[in-house]
Symmetry: C2
Subunit: 438 residues, 2 copies
């Protein structure tokens, strides 16, 4: 499973590069909210001023990719025309407007007379971000990193190398005009460097992979650095015996078809046996209209579904217009199915029975559990976070859609007046542990 052979030791130039980002990030951590905000506007302005150069670099990348025979889907992701670039620039300005995640006091406690503890949010340090060929990610991630006071080392798909370099040059020019050291951002361009990035523990504090399941797994298996991301998104919708069936259909269609390649789209529909027949009478033609291909268990095949789901289907993330359907006898059976096959991403129930809804909300241990609404709401923008680094399916926080808040940590500050632990151990002094106002 783990194969250290393929992960090279970092070259000395990579280590130097990372050290310089770390030093810059150390300074960045002490820069004010206003200065970070101003830097983001300057980054946006610089991208605007360099837009012609960036679009033409992208044209070159596109030409090379076309000759290399990239699929139309990949070409579409690689493409950065002026319109997409302007959207990215606008995104940076929006991130500038978000409230500062730093310097928040989370705890304030007197431990003893003149011995006061605080817990304050601070940046993580340096982010390592590995993503596939989407050049707009360079802008978005750089903005989130600087806004949250973090340095970032980025590695994009090599198909976008010229575009990414042009964008990074513009971003660093923007930083150059600001109070923030331009070395806070760095771009890697070779595969060897991006592999060796995983070995930079001590210099990189968090790795954010944005790409396929395989990419995320590979990184998790080959680094000691914490990884923020999600491997699978196998989301379920359960239609209860007490569901309003029109509501259920509306939610099911949206959860599956609004953007089927997203991780928060459903892969499995669980139907209570009491409503399965009636619901499928509505749902089969409705899904057909939307070109959704249904795969059913025996019971739902008997109710009109033509495709047959095999055992493997329950743990498959289709990421397209395929949906597996299963009939269950009880809520408990639905919960058991989710426990067994779910990826703890997002699950929803449709029911008019409040008690059943609350049992579902309490029992399912996914990062998002929904009642009477689409799983597609599992998203940082929709939650009101303003911007999103990604969605995490790990259990530990940050979990679910992760905004700026997920890019900060905290630090304890203790201010005393010659206080020593020995006096408390001996019983000479006692801790007061009195909470002060935040």
């Amino acid at each position: 499973m783990k194969n250290s052979q393929v992960v090279p030791e970092p070259s000395s130039s990579l280590v130097d590069n990372a050290r310089s980002v770390r030093r810059a990030a150390n300074d960045l951590a002490q820069v004010s909210d206003e200065q970070r905000r101003a830097a983001l506007y300057l980054m946006a302005d610089s991208l605007k001023a360099n837009s012609e150069r960036i679009v033409s670099a992208n044209q070159q990348d596109l030409n090379t990719a076309q000759s290399a025979g990239l699929t139309p889907a990949l070409l579409a992701r690689l493409k950065l025309d002026e319109k997409k670039l302007l959207l990215g620039i606008e995104g940076i300005r929006q991130v500038a407007e978000l409230p500062d995640p730093l310097g928040l006091r989370q705890l304030h406690r007197e431990l003893d007379n003149e011995l006061v503890l605080e817990r304050i949010t601070v940046p993580l340090g340096v982010l390592g971000v590995i993503f596939e060929a989407r050049p707009d990610a360079v802008m978005q991630i750089s903005a989130l990193a600087i806004r949250s006071g973090n340095g970032a080392i980025l590695k994009g798909g090599s198909e976008a190398n010229l575009t990414n370099q042009a964008i990074m040059k513009a971003l660093q020019e923007g930083l150059h005009n600001s109070e923030i050291n331009e070395n806070s951002l760095a771009l890697l361009t070779t595969r060897n460097e991006s592999l060796a990035l995983m070995r930079l523990d001590g210099l990189v504090d968090l790795i954010i992979p944005r790409g396929s399941n395989e990419l995320v797994r590979f990184i998790q298996d080959n680094t000691r650095i914490p990884v923020l991301g999600h491997a699978d998104g196998i989301c379920h919708l359960y239609v209860d015996a007490a569901a309003d069936l029109n509501k259920a259909l509306r939610v099911a269609i949206d959860s599956k078809t609004q953007y089927p390649a997203a991780c928060n789209a459903i892969e499995t529909l669980l139907l209570h046996k009491e409503i399965a027949a009636t619901f499928l009478q509505l749902a089969i033609p409705a899904f057909k209209d939307k070109e959704v291909f249904l795969l059913g268990d025996k019971a739902s095949q008997a109710l009109g579904i033509q495709g047959a789901a095999v055992d493997d289907d329950w743990s498959k993330e289709y990421l397209d217009l395929t949906l597996s359907v299963r009939v269950v006898s009880t809520l408990q059976e639905a919960l058991e199915h989710i426990r067994k096959f779910g990826s703890r991403h997002t699950e929803a129930i449709v029911t008019e029975d409040k008690k059943t809804a609350e049992t579902f909300l309490r029992s399912v241990d996914s990062s998002g559990v929904y009642h009477n609404c689409s799983t597609r709401f599992a998203d940082g923008f929709r939650y009101g976070f303003g911007a999103e680094v990604g969605i995490s399916t790990q259990t530990l926080p940050p979990r679910g859609p992760v905004g700026l808040e997920g890019l900060v940590t905290y630090r304890y500050r203790l201010r005393g007046n010659g206080h020593v632990a020995a006096e408390f151990s001996s019983g000479e002094r006692q801790f007061s542990h009195k909470d002060l106002s935040l």
Copy 2:
């Protein structure tokens, strides 16, 4: 670095065992505060009722260990007499009294009319805890796990196997009389099982190693499951030019000698050149009194320190009465030293200059940064957390001393009335994102 050969695949009996803990933990997550509290009291009572059996099992373990030639230090840690057992039982009752970390609403937001988002604290799920031969850890960790609604799979050092089994039996008997499934706790007894535990991703949510640096590193390198712990504790005390030297000495002696084997004891003393001579005149005899062996750089050797620090010393965690001393010319040089050699655990400054203190507090990116007090305060009990799982030197939260709060995560609950994402994408509806009272 990574060696998958030594980590065996989990046996089917281990997987069954872990599944049964997971199922029990799922039920436990839904049990009330009062029921979890009551279960802890029953666990304590059962340990009390079985104390003779436990102490005699420990006697057997001790006899075996003695014959095997264990060091006196290890024998002392292994020993569980009635007094130590009663302390452990008292500890469980104290954990019962701690405020419930579950069910706290951290976010409450209207996304649209009748579409309301909540973020609620919930248990992590199942903890995997690997510790060396300290049988009191079984009691403490089991109490913390149940209080926070988590299942736990524990593996202690094999020297304590009989003791641990007797304790676990008593704890499960206590749970048996409570509302909580006794399978919420499980004890592994073979090394193979504890290795295979690292492969139980999907069944175990967090691994907590309590032991040597080597143990922590080995686990980090061999699991995809998040690991809570600290590898190194290389803490620094910087005595500034504007320090009150008596205060500095008091803090230095406590930071080094109050418990030198602890991770929050200092390993290096940094002295501003302006006070180095005067301070060492006081400090050299004072440290000698406490049997501390000083190793100095050239400058501090010239001021009377007899031992010579070599390059390696700055990154060594002595864990005993050895202290390296270095003279620096400026605060910046001290900060640079800490940045280079520190492990981001806890660092302190002694100074009467408030501005210098604030610069230090702002610049050092360790989990604890202190002014005019001992590094030995870096501890969950001293911070007022009531109990501590351990101290984490990772950058991401939970960081520093980790209490019950570090054993919980959160879940997003979204309640709607047939809401679908498509209507928001099309612009037909707009998010209100209105924060509601918590």
